[in-house]
């Protein structure tokens, strides 16, 4: 876009500085997680651990059922992701490829509610869960994360680009609508579906306020909730806290590293259409 040498140099300098700003805090917490308690409380601080130790992870797992938290988070994230992938692609398919009464108004209703944050309507959700005596259950934790309105919108955009002729040809060959969905639509929209899956997984994993509200017993804590409560109770023990932070970040980084292409493509095709 700009070929001037001075701008290129400025761009390099600015981007390198920002990259240090975005990456260093992360490296810093990983380094801290492997330091001994003595080294953590040293002044001046050391950057890389002198004698790397797993002690902090041991202490964290000893003092809290953190493995249970991880399991809870994984279960919720997988359940939510599966539900969102199914409802988004099926809903997107129907809105993209069928004509039916009230299609426009229904779609507008879904779209309009997409931007309203969970925080704004979590009180009645809590009352519903309370009334059916489901507090502290996996069902309650997954419940508000079973659909993603943005996902329906996004999959509709993706599936609209599949040619109608293809679906019509399958119908002429006697394929049922369900077969068309499972064999043609899911297959051809799979990159978009992966993007929604990643999005759903990270959203469920990172969710904080809903578990905070709906869970009170320690063994139903998620990783995020467990970490937040642990660091409140033991705010001086930075070693195990850092270890917990690393544990809660790693799955996200793995998902991101494996599916980077889908994520970036997802943002590229939809980000500004919200």
């Amino acid at each position: 876009m700009f070929e001037e040498r001075s701008i290129r140099i400025a761009a390099w300098a600015a981007c390198s500085t920002l990259a240090l700003f975005t990456v260093l805090p992360f490296v810093w917490i990983v380094a801290t997680a492997f330091k001994t308690a003595n080294e953590i409380n040293m002044w001046p601080p050391t950057f890389l651990p002198h004698a790397p130790t797993m002690e902090n992870f041991h202490q964290l797992l000893h003092e809290t059922p953190f493995l249970r938290y991880i399991f809870n988070s994984l279960l919720i994230a997988v359940g939510s992701t599966a539900s969102i992938m199914l409802t988004s692609s099926l809903g997107g398919f129907v809105f993209a490829k069928y004509r039916f009464p009230l299609r426009g108004p229904l779609f507008m209703m879904i779209l309009a509610s997409a931007i309203i944050p969970l925080e704004a309507y979590m009180v009645p959700l809590y009352i519903m869960v309370f009334k059916v005596h489901m507090l502290n259950t996996y069902a309650a934790l997954i419940f508000p994360l079973m659909i993603m309105t943005f996902g329906v919108f996004f999959m509709r955009q993706v599936i609209m680009s599949i040619p109608d002729d293809l679906l019509e040809a399958a119908r002429i060959d006697g394929a049922s609508e369900l077969w068309i969905y499972l064999r043609i639509v899911v297959y051809l929209s799979n990159s978009g579906l992966m993007a929604i899956g990643v999005f759903a997984f990270t959203q469920a994993w990172a969710n904080f306020i809903w578990p905070l509200v709906v869970v009170s017993s320690g063994d139903m804590y998620t990783t995020e909730l467990g970490l937040a409560e642990y660091q409140r109770a033991f705010f001086t023990e930075y070693g195990p806290i850092a270890a917990g932070a690393v544990i809660s970040i790693v799955p996200m980084l793995i998902v991101f590293a494996l599916l980077r292409r889908h994520i970036m493509q997802g943002i590229a095709t939809s980000g500004m259409k919200g």
Partner: protein, 314 residues
């Protein structure tokens, strides 16, 4: 209308064939599949979105306490109470101040970097990846990372600043500093996402347009102001709305970074969602919390309206 019914009554054959025709049309449109596929999704959607949103509004007119049997209608008194509620007013002002600052810094930085990245195109992808790392990190560990950096005694930030001769500061303990401390966390967390979004928008600007401007002797600055920014306007508007809503709902980092019941030494920085949490789920004043939720709803809706009107105007 009446003419049509008369006509149908008079001609049963025509009516039957019309019914058959509309039935055939419905079959052609696979109405059965549509109902089976969309029905459960819409039911779920109503249950976990539409109903809770409407119920929030209804609750705000009641003195609702989940532990009580009687929950009387109280009209607007929850809303009247909002005006006299000092913690809520503080929370609202804090949240607005935080959002304004955070949105401006995040988006200005993201746009500048995204534009600069376009002049070093071959390394842009690597940089975008590095900028995206904090986006992937959930809010709780992100706040934990920064709590450690802000630590008054052993924190890295005070250490770095001591190199410039600045005395140790209590970033999370000083009421004036904690706002900036939380803004910095949110800029760190969000900037990478908006750089990627702006990057997509910038790549869609036709290269010939900029080349033509160069041939006419336009400077880089002129190209940005007269070509890039006007073309990016809808995307910028979209990001302002998205980023404002994210910031207005700030809660997890505040929960981690501020004082706790156990007495972690930090200033009690109040935000709107924190007040909703307190009133709704700590004191169980759910009607009152509902009124606070309606404030958030109205805020989000007005932002959407602004965006909608701005797009229509084009």
């Amino acid at each position: 209308m009446s003419g049509a019914t008369q006509h149908l009554a008079a001609a049963p054959f025509a009516r039957r064939s019309q019914l058959r025709r509309s039935w055939a049309q419905m079959r052609r449109n696979h109405i059965g599949f549509v109902v089976c596929a969309l029905g459960p999704i819409l039911a779920l959607f109503v249950l976990i979105r539409i109903y809770p949103i409407l119920e929030t509004i209804r609750l705000s007119f009641y003195n609702y306490n989940i532990t009580q049997r009687r929950n009387p209608f109280v009209g607007l008194s929850n809303y009247i109470r909002l005006f006299d509620d000092d913690p809520f007013r503080t929370a609202l002002l804090n949240t607005i101040g935080f959002s304004v600052l955070s949105v401006i810094v995040t988006l200005a930085l993201a746009l500048t970097i995204a534009i600069l990245l376009r002049s070093i195109e071959h390394t842009a992808a690597t940089f975008e990846l590095l900028f995206y790392i904090p986006v992937v990190i959930p809010w709780v560990p992100a706040a934990v990372i920064w709590k450690w950096i802000y630590d008054p005694a052993y924190g890295a930030l005070n250490y770095v600043l001591s190199g410039f001769g600045v005395a140790r500061l209590g970033w999370l303990q000083e009421p004036t500093l904690i706002l900036y401390a939380i803004v910095l966390v949110s800029v760190w967390k969000l900037v990478g996402y908006f750089i990627v979004i702006y990057g997509v928008g910038l790549r869609s600007i036709p290269e010939e347009l900029l080349e033509a401007a160069s041939l006419d002797g336009a400077t880089a600055w002129q190209k940005v102001v007269h070509i890039v920014l006007p073309l990016m306007r809808p995307i910028i508007l979209f990001t302002v709305v998205t980023c404002t809503i994210i910031c207005f709902n700030v809660f997890a980092p505040v929960y981690v970074l501020t004082a706790s019941s156990q007495g972690a030494p930090a200033y009690d920085f109040k935000v709107v969602v924190g007040e909703i949490y307190q009133n709704g789920f700590v004191f169980y004043h759910m009607g009152y919390a509902g009124a606070q939720c309606v404030v958030v709803l109205l805020f989000v809706m007005s932002l959407l309206a602004v965006q909608f009107l701005a797009f229509r105007e084009k």
